[in-house]
Each structure stands twice: as structure tokens, then as C-alpha cells.
């Protein structure tokens, strides 16, 4: 499971207070936001001229990350058995491979083979590859392909769970990524146009967007988007949802706003599991184990009915995903 980030130091009484105010209807969040409201963030793209695409995102709590995308031409591994059918059609099938996208995350105070960076990288890569269009676009011809290296630097120590920050930074850097235009014949060894202005975007407007991974917390029946460390400390369950914008073709056909595409869901081990048990007075004999407690760490999983509500809250038109994706699209434009 996800190795939890640094723990917040809250007493059982404080945990109980936060938990109670968040389970009210409507919930009262410590920072006064509404349940589906996101915290403000600062973002910029194309900050590093020697990368194919780059972005920097700062959250309001001071955490900051920089991502750079580099693409290199690589020789594809020959698959003799697979190529026979392609030659007959004339139209070659452009199939990418998962190994063409490589991601590495650097977190201060962690070695790059520690559990946290490796787990986060695996999770973000999983969401990226769930959209198979990306790797197919890296295909140049039968012998060559682009290899995409995504390097993310987390500049601040991981105060809260850094997944959304890293995911938004990756999203923006991929949106700003351009690949040099091919000027040679498709079958030849690739030769590229050296004019950067004619480079083609990795995610053209006609395609979907790169995914963003959002954290959603449930507390009782309440669903909270973009939880703060204090809210994570009392969470019943934490979900990481990877979503991408709806395909433009669908957007035109359908009536009204289409819903965002859900690419991956993961449950995370909430840090609330590690909070200490708090008793008001000494444990009374014969009482059920969870009464008379000021605070008991949440146990158990997530109900299916609640899970479907969580997904709806994020994916539905006008939901959390649409808000985030629209905001990020505004940064690049």
C-alpha cells in the first residue's frame, strides 16, 4: 500500500473535533472551503527551454514541483512475427509499448529507489498508460519510436500527500510538450525539422488530455475533494482517481456536457489509521470497544454505494475533474 507521508501531530481531542465537524451536513472544513472546492494554486509552463515540455506548480501550502519532459528517438525492438500483417495493409498499425514512457520522481530526503517515489511514479505512469493513445503517438515508424522521459522534482519536503501536486505538474508539462516535426519519408530513418515552431504537440487539441490524479476523502457520508493534511488525518478512506477530459469527438456528438473519462482508481492507506487511540476516561469494563473513546482510528473499507457517489462527484459534468481540467487548460493557453 501507499507509504504514508509525514504525519500531522494532532491530539485525539483535535482529531475528534475535526472528524465531527466534517461529518456534519453540510460539512465544515477547517479552512472554510465547500466540499468540492479546490485550493488555489499557481502554475506556469514552458519554463525550461532545453526540455520538450516543462511546468512548475506551487500549491497554496507552499509545496512546489517542477516537471520536465524529454523525448529521445530510440530504435524499436524488432518483432518479426508482428510485422507481417502490417506490410500487406499498406496502412501500418501504430502500436506503442508501455516501456516507451519512463517516469522518475525526486523527493528531498528520499533516495530515488525508496518506496514513496517508486510507488508514486508507478501510480502516475499507470494513469498515463491507461490512455493508450499516448504511447501510440510515440510511434515514428516500424524501426524507431520516441522515448518519453518525465522527470519530476518535488522542491519542498512532502508536507501532505504529494500525489495531486505531482500529477498536476505532469499534466501541465505533457500539455506543453512538443515533438519535432518529421520531414523524412515515414519509412526512412527519421529526420526532423529543426524549426521548433513547427513542432507538433504531443497532445493535439483533437485528442484527449493527459490524466490528472485527484485525491478524494470520505468521512462518514461526506465526500471531500482536495483534502488537506488535517483532513487526511481523520479520513475514513482515501481514493486516488485518475481522470482525463472527455474526447472532443464525443463532446460534439453528445447533448450537454459529457462526463470526464475515468482512467484509474486506487485506494490509499489513509494516515488516519496510524493516529493514536484516545480515551476520555479509563476504559469501562463491559462497554463496547468503540464507545467512550474520544478518538478511535477508522477501520474497514469503503461501501460500494459511497464509492459510486465519489466517482460521480468527480466525473460528472460540472464536477471536480471538469473544474481542475478547465483551470489547467487555462494555464497552457
Amino acid at each position: 500500500m501507499a507509504p504514508s507521508a509525514t504525519q500531522t501531530l494532532l491530539s485525539p481531542a483535535e482529531l475528534s473535533y475535526i472528524h465531527h465537524s466534517l461529518s456534519l451536513s453540510p460539512p465544515i472544513r477547517p479552512d472554510g472551503r465547500s466540499p468540492t472546492e479546490f485550493r488555489p494554486l499557481f502554475a506556469e509552463t514552458d519554463i525550461l527551454p532545453n526540455t520538450n515540455g516543462s511546468a512548475r506548480v506551487c500549491f497554496a501550502d507552499g509545496s512546489e514541483a517542477i516537471a520536465g519532459v524529454k523525448a529521445e528517438v530510440e530504435r524499436s525492438i524488432a518483432r518479426p512475427g508482428l510485422d507481417i500483417s502490417a506490410d500487406d495493409d499498406g496502412e501500418e498499425e501504430r502500436h506503442g509499448e508501455n516501456a516507451w514512457v519512463e517516469m522518475s520522481i525526486e523527493i528531498p530526503g528520499h533516495r530515488d529507489d525508496d518506496a514513496l517515489p517508486v510507488f508514486l511514479a508507478a501510480m502516475l505512469t499507470e494513469a498515463l498508460l491507461a490512455d493508450s493513445e499516448l504511447k501510440d503517438r510515440l510511434w515514428i515508424n516500424r524501426r524507431f519510436h520516441w522515448k518519453l522521459y518525465i522527470d519530476i522534482l518535488l522542491l519542498s519536503p512532502p508536507s501532505s500527500y504529494p500525489l495531486p501536486l505531482l500529477s498536476l505538474t505532469t499534466h501541465l508539462s505533457l500539455l506543453s510538450t512538443h515533438l519535432p516535426a518529421l520531414i523524412s519519408d515515414p519509412a526512412d530513418d527519421p529526420l526532423f525539422n529543426d524549426d521548433w515552431h513547427s513542432a507538433t504537440p504531443l497532445y493535439p487539441p483533437s485528442s484527449s488530455t493527459p490524466p490528472v490524479t485527484l485525491l478524494v476523502t470520505t468521512i462518514g457520508e461526506t465526500i471531500l475533494l482536495d483534502p488537506t493534511p488535517e483532513e487526511l488525518a481523520v479520513a475514513d478512506a482515501v481514493l486516488a482517481l485518475s481522470v482525463a477530459a472527455p474526447l472532443p469527438s464525443k463532446a460534439k456528438k453528445g447533448k450537454g456536457n459529457p462526463q470526464a473519462r475515468l482512467l484509474a482508481i486506487r485506494t490509499l492507506d489513509p494516515p488516519s489509521r496510524l493516529t493514536p487511540l484516545g480515551t476520555t476516561a479509563g476504559p469501562t469494563e463491559g462497554a463496547p470497544p468503540r464507545t467512550g473513546m474520544a478518538w478511535a482510528p477508522p477501520q474497514g473499507g469503503l461501501k460500494r454505494e459511497l464509492l459510486s457517489r465519489v466517482i460521480k462527484a468527480v466525473v460528472a459534468p460540472g464536477g471536480g475533474a471538469e473544474e481542475v481540467l478547465a483551470g489547467l487548460a487555462g494555464v497552457v493557453a
Partner: protein, 278 residues
């Protein structure tokens, strides 16, 4: 190899159009990260470095040199992380020896500059993130660290500033033909006054970019600004004739003075903004 020397001796202009004594553009910001104790962002030409200082804070017990002998001194820890996308080709750099050596050099230089005795037993952590490399890596790291330490309010004896200086070489010239004293006082002119004899002229160059660094011998020099010009760091990793070093060092120290003025300007602008902003 003759990339630089071929054109330089004709027009006395370098690859990027600078003269021998011109610095690249230096752009710096401090307090870039509100959540850190001290932070800075520095660009020297196309080299870009972010520096974040945390501390002085209580160090971890038993962490390295934080043992009994260091009670009256603070411990300076420098971490350099070179981003995979910083170079021309994407390279994954784990903690290799070159980075370790740079870290050691910066630690030593700062220990001589920071009043470490003010923070006995504490640790000052300086993390440097290299976002783009185009020469003068060590110099940019030192300058960024100085700015971030100033932002963190750590007392130092003066600005520790650094820049690089190199020397043009000719493939044929293994040793300078002229005695050093006779070298023209304006180095660029020596090749013109040589009366067509271009073979024996080597000029010092200030602040090499990445391409020049690959071709020419260069040294990195860091000085404590101010009147004394005390040289704190001098790192020379390439082969160069001993007679060239003095010249290169003089140009480097002179460049440090100008870097100091620029950094001082950045700090003053920031200070004024803080006072006005309340």
C-alpha cells in the same frame, strides 16, 4: 577542437557574440519559495539553479559529523540534485563522484564564510536543484547558495561569489612563447598587435558557456567580495600551462567583483520591496 580558436582570433568575438571580458546575463530572485527558510533562483546564461535553505535547525543526532566535537559549530550540509532533463541529453545522475565533489567544495567554502559559531550544534541544509546546465555549474551553485543564505538570514562575513575564467588555446601552442609579463595589458589586443603572428597568443576569457567549457581549459574561482578579494575556492580540472593560470585567476577575480555587484543589487531590490511591502 578548433571551434573557438578559429573564429575568435579574427573578430575577438566568442561563439555567443561576447567579448573576452563579458559576463553572460545573470538573473536572480530571492525568496522564491515562501515555505522555505531561505530560497533563491539564479540564472547564469542558460544555467539555472534553484537553492533552498532550511535551518539553522536542530540536527539529527549521530548524523555524520554532528557528534561531540561539533558542539560549538553548526554543521553545513549541501545536497545537489541534477535534474535528468538539465543537459542536452536526458541523463539519470545518481550520486556520482563529481556531484559529491561539488558538494564538498561548496560545504568547505561556506564553512569559511558563514559564522558557524553562532549556531552551535545546529544544521544548515542547503539543497541545490540544477534545472539546466550550460557551463559554470559550480559557480552558479555557489552564487545561488549565497543568495538563499542571505534570504534565510544566516550571518556571513561577506558575499561568497563565484565565476569561471578560461583561456583560449591553440592546438600547436604547447607553451606560451612570450614571457607572461610582456602579455598585453588588454588581453584581446595581444592577438592583433602580434603582427600576423597569431600562433603564440592565448587570451583569457571570462564566464565560459557550456560549449566553451568542453573545449577550453577553465577554472572556477570564488571570492569573498569587498575590498580584500580573498579567494575561497579555486577549482581547475583541465590541463593548462602553468603560466596561464595567473592570468585566468586575475580575470576570474575581476569577474567575481562584477557578480558581487549584481547579487548585491538583487538583495537590495528585494530588501527595499520588503520594507515597502510592510
Amino acid at each position: 577542437m578548433p571551434l573557438d580558436t578559429s573564429s575568435y582570433s579574427l573578430a575577438l568575438l566568442r561563439l555567443d557574440g561576447r567579448r573576452w571580458n563579458e559576463l553572460r546575463r545573470i538573473h536572480a530572485q530571492i525568496s522564491t519559495q515562501p515555505s522555505a527558510d531561505g530560497s533563491s533562483y539564479l540564472e547564469m546564461g542558460n544555467t539555472k539553479v534553484i537553492c533552498i535553505v532550511s535551518g539553522p535547525a536542530e540536527g539529527k543526532r549521530g548524523a555524520g559529523a554532528g557528534g561531540g566535537g561539533e558542539r560549538d559549530q553548526s554543521n553545513i550540509v549541501v545536497e545537489i540534485s541534477v535534474a535528468g532533463f538539465s543537459g542536452v541529453d536526458r541523463k539519470r545522475r545518481r550520486n556520482d563522484r563529481r556531484t559529491t565533489e561539488l558538494q564538498h567544495t561548496i560545504t568547505q567554502a561556506l564553512q569559511a564564510t558563514v559564522y558557524t559559531s553562532h549556531y552551535g550544534g545546529s544544521t544548515i541544509t542547503i539543497s541545490l536543484h540544477v534545472l539546466a546546465q550550460d557551463g559554470a555549474l559550480l559557480a552558479a551553485c555557489i552564487n545561488a547558495a549565497t543568495l538563499a543564505l542571505i534570504d534565510a538570514g544566516v550571518p556571513m562575513s561577506d558575499y561568497l561569489v563565484a565565476c569561471t575564467a578560461g583561456s583560449t588555446t591553440h592546438a600547436s601552442a604547447s607553451a606560451p612563447q612570450k614571457p607572461v609579463g610582456q602579455q598585453a595589458s588588454i588581453p584581446g589586443l595581444s592577438s592583433l598587435s602580434g603582427g600576423g603572428n597569431f600562433e603564440d597568443t592565448d587570451d583569457p576569457l571570462l564566464d565560459l558557456n557550456g560549449l566553451e567549457e568542453q573545449e577550453l581549459p577553465f577554472l572556477t574561482v570564488a571570492t569573498l567580495g569587498g575590498e580584500r578579494d580573498a579567494v575561497v575556492v579555486c577549482l581547475l580540472e583541465t590541463r593548462v600551462h602553468a603560466a596561464r593560470v595567473e592570468e585566468m585567476l586575475a580575470v576570474g577575480v575581476d569577474g567575481c567583483k562584477r557578480v558581487r555587484e549584481i547579487l548585491d543589487g538583487v538583495v537590495r531590490v528585494h530588501g527595499r520591496r520588503m520594507v515597502e511591502g510592510g
